[in-house]
Amino acid sequence: MRSFRKLFLVQLKLYLREPVAFFFSLAYPALLLLLFGYIYGNEPAPEFWGRNFGTVDASVPAYTGIIIGTVALMGIPIDTASSRENGVLRRYRATPLRPAIYLAASVAVYLLVALLGMLILVVTGKLIFDLRIAGAWLNVLAAFLLSALAFFAIGYIIASLAPTARIAQVVGMVIFFPMMFLSGAGMPLQLLPENLRRVSDFLPLSYVVRLIQGLWFGDPWAELWLPSVILFGIFIVGTMIASRLFRWE
């Protein structure tokens, strides 16, 4: 437990000392919100959103998907593969530290960072655009946790399969960027042509956006069973594969 606590604190500090990672997971989504909030405002637009919500109300849960995707598909693969590549993980392996503790501490750090990113987003929305939410915070938080853990598993699988940090970075980017635009996380699906919109059914991040946005707008879980089941499946299967594939060197 002591090693978990120390590892968690040190890794958190290391993350915050890395300005690029810090910016992309914490500041960038809030900047997007400011930009599009100023362009579109947050007037309720039922004709566009299908309910009485505005652009900022819909963007905060959607951008939460960007945060989860950034941390899981960019942060985790690059950090993990480069720690392996330059021998940091080798050095840990020469101690009694168990891999499960290392992974648990890292996952806790990434969860906290993603949560912090979401918090910044919510606070920006509240302070500047009078952000509205119809659902329960606790439900949104649960959806966030499920989505993050499912995506972190994917991130660790990429990290283990990629032979080098460079390749981990490229794979993470190739998966993340198209998904960001085609899943409804980076821009509303309503803006996409019909055939492109159908692609979103095949992208895991779409289900993150559907689940978090749905709960945000006040839909009950029962109506969101499909994204819930898909994300839960990714979480279980992904975690099993990720823990089997994990390697120190």
Partner: protein
Amino acid sequence: MQAQEIITVENLYKHYGQVKAVDGISLQISASEIFGMVGPNGSGKTTTIECIEGLRQPDKGKVRVLGLDPEKDFYALREIIGVQLQACNLPARMRVEEALDLFASFYQHSVDWRALLDDLGLTEKRRSFYNQLSGGQKQRLFVALALINRPNIVFLDELTTGLDPQARRATWDLVRRIREQGTTVFLTTHFMEEAERLCDRVAILDHGRVIAMDTPNSLVSQLGMSRRVTFEINGHSSGATKIANHAASDFNPALLGVVEGVQKVDQDGNEVVVHGKGNGLVGELVRALENAGVSFTNLRSEQANLEDVFLALTGRAIRN
């Protein structure tokens, strides 16, 4: 200090593809000795040490460290040994004190790392980031991490590679101090001089095999070449206008072969190396050279050393 075997390795084999990295190595290491494995790069030192540490799985062979099997008792062994790896790093932005505090938390028992920092002269650097440290400071930090659980055995793989001579000497003192505190030291190096100065016993490795194992003194004296005299030929004093190359080709090594105590004369260009025995060897050689009218400079006499042992056993110099 009771001589008791705390590491035994029997018939260790490990290959990577077609390459036999370790080809049947057996070792016994006693408590409180400084044991060194020396050999050129690729001779199997690191593979052997990492099989003993449990970081690699041998293809065949038996390893016991303090009665434990490094594979099966991986975590139990980790608690009582310290490891300094050849190729590893810490996160660039991790501070020295953070690293020590973190690594201390991995062990059930650890020493006060502040005292360790003092011992290793890193106290001033405790707030520095890992990537701000010099090569020598990084090495000392890794030694500190290897000692943080007060291990019974500490493994040091190529500890002084990449250090300047001054830092290397300081590191030797450090290793001696570690042993004085009762810790057994198992190290690898490709510096023969380091092995000779530092180790109580040395195993010389080549192509994955132990080709000799003993104290450095016995290894050298078994060679039967107790002394080596080296000098450069300038030219015959009778023909001072000749350039050195001509002088070198004119020089007849047989001239020295007859001197008392000389065993072997090697000539490489204008450098001549004479292997031989006897206290009067240098005087006899100088007299012979002067009588023959050979002008020479830079004459020096050296004890034979482990490099000579390696050369004699393998027919090649370790540096190549």
